[in-house]
C-alpha cells in the first residue's frame, strides 16, 4: 500500500515561482506602507491583512495544505487556533493593546 502523498498533484515549478513573486510584492508593500505617514491610522489592520495573506499562501501552496489530506489541516489548525487564543487572552488579561 503506497502512502497518500504520492497521489497528490502539486503545483508546477512555474506556479511556485509566480507565488514567490507575489509574496515578494506583498513583502515590499508591507515595508512601503510603514513609510507612508497618511496610512498611520490604518497601519495595524493593513499589516495584519498583508501578513495573514502571506501566511495563508505559504501554508496553502508551499506546505501543500490546500491539496493535502484535511487531517493535516486539522492538526495544524488546532495548534494555531490555540496559539492565537492564548495570545489574545494574554493581551486582554494584561490590557495590552498594540
Amino acid at each position: 500500500m503506497t502512502t497518500e502523498h504520492h497521489d497528490i498533484e502539486h503545483p508546477s515549478s512555474l506556479k511556485y515561482v509566480v507565488i514567490a513573486i507575489i509574496l515578494s510584492i506583498v513583502t515590499a508593500l508591507e515595508v512601503a506602507v510603514v513609510y507612508i505617514e497618511a496610512l498611520s491610522p490604518v497601519l495595524l489592520p493593513l499589516l495584519g491583512i498583508l501578513s495573514v495573506g502571506k501566511f495563508i499562501v505559504v501554508v496553502g501552496y508551499y506546505m501543500h495544505l490546500k491539496f493535502d489530506n484535511k487531517l493535516f489541516t486539522l492538526l495544524f489548525a488546532t495548534g494555531l487556533i490555540l496559539a492565537v487564543y492564548i495570545l489574545t487572552a494574554l493581551m486582554v488579561l494584561f490590557r495590552v493593546f498594540i
Binding site: 495595524l44 505559504v58 495570545l87
Partner: protein
C-alpha cells in the same frame, strides 16, 4: 527492508505516520512561538531603561533578511519538486541554495545581534533585550537546525543515498523549513513593522 520508505509507516487513516507527526509537531511549535511572541508584546514599552526598539531597529536591513528567508521557501519547494520528478541534479542545486539562503539569514541575524549588543541591548539589560533575544534567538536556532538537516540531505544525495522513493524525507524537511518561514512572517510584522513608524518618524 528497502521498501519501508514507500510502503510502511502508514496509519489506519492511510496517511504516513511521519507526516502526521510532523504536522502535530508544527501545530505544537505554534504554541511555543505564540508564548514567546506574547511575552514580547506583554513587555513591549515596559522597559524602564534604554536602549529602546526604535533606537536600534533597522527596518530596511531586516526587510532584506525577511526577503532572503522567503526566497529560501521557494528554493525548498523546488527541491521537493525536483526529487519527486527524480531530477537529482536539481534537487542538490535547490537543497544547496536553500541552505545558503538559510546561512545568509543566520549571518544577517548574527550581525544584527552584534550591532544591538554594541548599542547596549543585552539579555540582562532591559525587558526589550531579554524578550527580543529569546524570541528571535529561538527562531534562529530553528533555522540553524533546518540548515543542518538540509545539508545532511545534500550530502546523502551526493553519496547516492537519497532515492526518488524517499521524497517524503525532503517533504518533511520542507514542511519544517516553511514553518520557520511563516514564523518569521509573524515576527517581522509583530516585532519589527509595528515598531517601524517610531523608528522612521
Amino acid at each position: 527492508m528497502a521498501t519501508h520508505e514507500t510502503t510502511g509507516h502508514t496509519t489506519t487513516t492511510g496517511l504516513d505516520n511521519r507526516k502526521v507527526m510532523m504536522w502535530a509537531f508544527i501545530g505544537s511549535d505554534c504554541l511555543f512561538f505564540a508564548s514567546l511572541v506574547s511575552t514580547y508584546l506583554l513587555y513591549r514599552g515596559k522597559s524602564v531603561v534604554g536602549p529602546y526598539p526604535y533606537e536600534v531597529f533597522n527596518i530596511p536591513y531586516t526587510s532584506v533578511s525577511a526577503f532572503v528567508l522567503l526566497m529560501s521557501s521557494l528554493t525548498m519547494v523546488l527541491a521537493l519538486s525536483a526529487i519527486q520528478r527524480g531530477d537529482h541534479t536539481r534537487l542538490r542545486i535547490w537543497l544547496l541554495a536553500t541552505s545558503i539562503l538559510g546561512c545568509v539569514f543566520l549571518g544577517g541575524q548574527y550581525f544584527e545581534f552584534t550591532v544591538f549588543v554594541h548599542e547596549g541591548v543585552t539579555m540582562q539589560g532591559n525587558l526589550f533585550g531579554s524578550s527580543f533575544f529569546t524570541l528571535t534567538g529561538f527562531h534562529g536556532l530553528h533555522v540553524t537546525f533546518g540548515v543542518v538537516i538540509l545539508m545532511s540531505f545534500f550530502v546523502m544525495s551526493l553519496r547516492g543515498r537519497l532515492s526518488q522513493e524517499q521524497s517524503l524525507n525532503i517533504e518533511l524537511a520542507g514542511l519544517y523549513w516553511h514553518f520557520v518561514d511563516i514564523v518569521w512572517i509573524v515576527i517581522f510584522t509583530v516585532i519589527y513593522l509595528i515598531e517601524a513608524p517610531n523608528v522612521i518618524h
